[in-house]
Each structure stands twice: as C-alpha cells, then as structure tokens.
Symmetry: C2
Subunit: 190 residues, 2 copies
DNA sequence: TCGACAAGTCATCATATGATTACTTGCGCG
DNA sequence: CGCGCAAGTAATCATATGATGACTTGTCGA
C-alpha cells in the first residue's frame, strides 16, 4: 500500500494514486468503513489533498466509481454467443481476481445513499445486461428478464466469492466455471 | 416504525421489538449506517436498553442474525426436485418481499468484520447449498460447485433486486421467475 | 536567480455515535 | 400497603472521522 517511488509533486500521479487507493478500500470495505485518513495514508499524502482534488468523500467515491473498469467495458471486443460464457468465466474466476475481495463489481454494491451514485451503479448493470442480450443474439427486449438473471448470477458469484468465501466456488478456475456458466446461458437464452 | 401498543414494561416484548427493528435496519442499511439510537427510536425506548439486553452493537447484530429466517429454514418441508425451483421463485419474487430491500439474505451481506458474524453468514449459505444439493437428488459432493452457483444466483437476484432495483427483475412475480429458474436448476444439476 | 503559483501540510473544529454509569419508576408479591 | 427488583431513562464521555482555512514548500519559466 505504501507508495513505491517518492512521486515528486506530480498532481496527476497523486490524483491517480488516490483514485486507486480509494477504489481498493471502497471495494473491500464499503463506503462507511473506509476513511479518508486511511486512503491518504496509503498514498502517503495529507488528508486535505483529497478535499482539494475531489471536494469530499462522496466526490472521491463518484470519481473512483467512474474510473473503475466495467464488465467487458474497455478494450474488450463485443461478445458473441460463445465468447459470453468465456468472458463470464474469466472475469469471475480466481484466475482473474485472486484477491477475491477486490472485484470491481463489489464497489457497485457496497456503496449506497447518494442518488447520483445509484445512477452510476444502475447504469453499469443495465449496460452489462444489454451486452449479455446482444451477445446471445436476442435483439428485442423479450428476454430481458433472462438476461438480468445472468447479470444476477455474475453479481452473486462475485459476492459469494468475496463476502463469504464459499468453497469450492472461491477457488474455481475459469476452466472449471466455463462449463456450468455455458450451460446456464444456454438454458436461459437459447 | 413507531410501536403500536404502548407495551407496558414487558422485557420479552421489548427485546423482540428491538430485534425486529434491528433486523430491518441492518438489512436495509448495513451495519455502519444503522445507529443504535435509531433502533431505540423505532421501538420507542432508550439507547441504554440495548446495552442491557445485547451488550453491544455487535451483540445486537449477532442476535438479529441468529433470529433471522433462513432460506427454507423454518417450517418448510425439505425440498424435492420440483419444489426447489418453486421455493426459489417464491422466496425471490416480488410477491414474497415487496419491500425489496428487506430480504433476509441481504443482512448476511451488508455486514462484515467480526469473525463470529462471518461464521453465521457462511453457515447459512453452506446450509442453503447443501439443501439445494439434496433437493436435486445429488448425495455426494461432486456437484457442489454447481449447487453453489445456484446459491449465488439466489443471492445475486436478491442483491440486484434490492440494491439496484433493475427492471424487469425487480417486479418479477414468482410465476414469471419459475420457468427460468427451473431451467437453470435443470441445466446445472441434471 | 528568483518569484509566483500550484502542490502539499498542519492544526483545529464540529459532530455523530457507541459506551457507560448513576438514577428513576412501575409492577407484583408478601 | 409498601417494598424490592427488574425495566427503563437521563446525562455524559470518549473517540473516530469528515470538513476546513491558514500556512509552507518545491518547481518551473522568464
């Protein structure tokens, strides 16, 4: 958690480091249990800087959520039918997130209260559902419920792995998850 | 939330009322955001009583978690294969929990930190997984991963419904859920 | 070189909240 | 009736934490 290079007065780098430390703590501990002091401490910087850059704790949260990676968000190609189960298995396996309590989805859930934050969270999951739907080759909204069940399964896996650490799910590899997940996708969105 | 009958100095009733108010708040808001003052206020009683009966906030949480109903816990008959999807659909539909943020499962998740609490939570989900397994007619542990995926789906549905309120899942009835859930169970535990 | 401005720190405040101890009051039993 | 005890209250403390405004210092351009 301590910084590696002393980071000589570089606002952009400091800002970035704060965002990362914040994301880690919000994800692991949730909003209330992470303190600004701890985040500042992680980065090796003074508490007051957070106010300078993000205005408030809520502001920091929003920034961290906006910067957080999303399911199949970034460089990832649009999924097709077979890639869907694949991507799910990869993102949710212990391979991808050995630190089982740092999965980005968890930040969406551990946090609440502010309406704008709720919006971010909601949008992320809506996007994910939409993505599932098109990956499965359904264009209309007639299978939206089923798509949301796939989303729910993804969320549930992340939660169960992290918050509860249930075996054998906690240590399942992408390969082990792939079969069952493909079966579920086929069953729900044939 | 205010009490209905004035409740004349009845320790048992007061204790019970505290447990219920606590469960509601812990479930909706999580551990940190619920305050002892608010719980005491709900019941119309002084803060110090909580200490008297439960020792501490943690103690109250443990008591509330132990008293909370479980998936297929109480009077419910052991499930068989067909009853499983049925029970899942019922417990997770908007029929059963129109107050979508009061589902008992959520208390398991919103809370963390203490080892003993983690144990309670873990045990509840383990029991649930075991129950799924036997309901599906699998005796050994060879399909434990699949059973846990069913558990994860249940958890995920509750989370998505409550924390995010995603449509159409949020308003799905037991009837609407039954088909897809039965399909998933069949796919995972044939 | 040096001075201005952004980057960063310090000290302090206000408040919410859990804990705790001493007190009061209603109820039932003899 | 009245007394003793459990049920309940009041007042107060300690502390953690977010917010803030005034201060210090490093860096970079002219």
């Amino acid at each position: 958690m301590a910084e590696t290079t002393p980071r000589r007065r570089d606002a952009a780098a400091t800002r970035q480091a704060l965002l990362e430390a914040a994301a880690r703590r919000f994800t692991r501990l949730g909003y209330e249990r992470t303190t600004l002091r701890d985040i500042a401490g992680d980065v090796g910087v003074n508490l007051a800087l957070i106010k300078r850059y993000f205005g408030s704790k809520e502001g920091l949260l929003k920034a961290a959520m906006s910067a957080s990676p999303r399911f199949g968000g970034d460089g990832e190609r649009p999924w097709d039918r077979t890639a869907l189960a694949d991507a799910l298995a990869r993102h949710l396996s212990s391979d991808a997130w050995p630190e089982f309590d740092e999965h980005p989805v968890l930040m969406l859930l551990r946090v609440s209260g502010d309406a704008q934050v709720d919006g971010l969270r909601r949008q992320a999951l809506l996007d994910f559902g939409r993505k599932v739907l098109t990956a499965a080759g359904h264009e209309g909204d007639d299978r939206l419920l089923e798509a949301e069940l796939v989303v729910a399964l993804g969320v549930g896996i992340a939660v169960v792995r992290s918050a509860v650490g249930l075996q054998p799910l906690r240590d399942a590899t992408a390969e082990q998850l792939h079969g069952p997940l493909a079966a579920v996708v086929d069953a729900l969105l044939p």
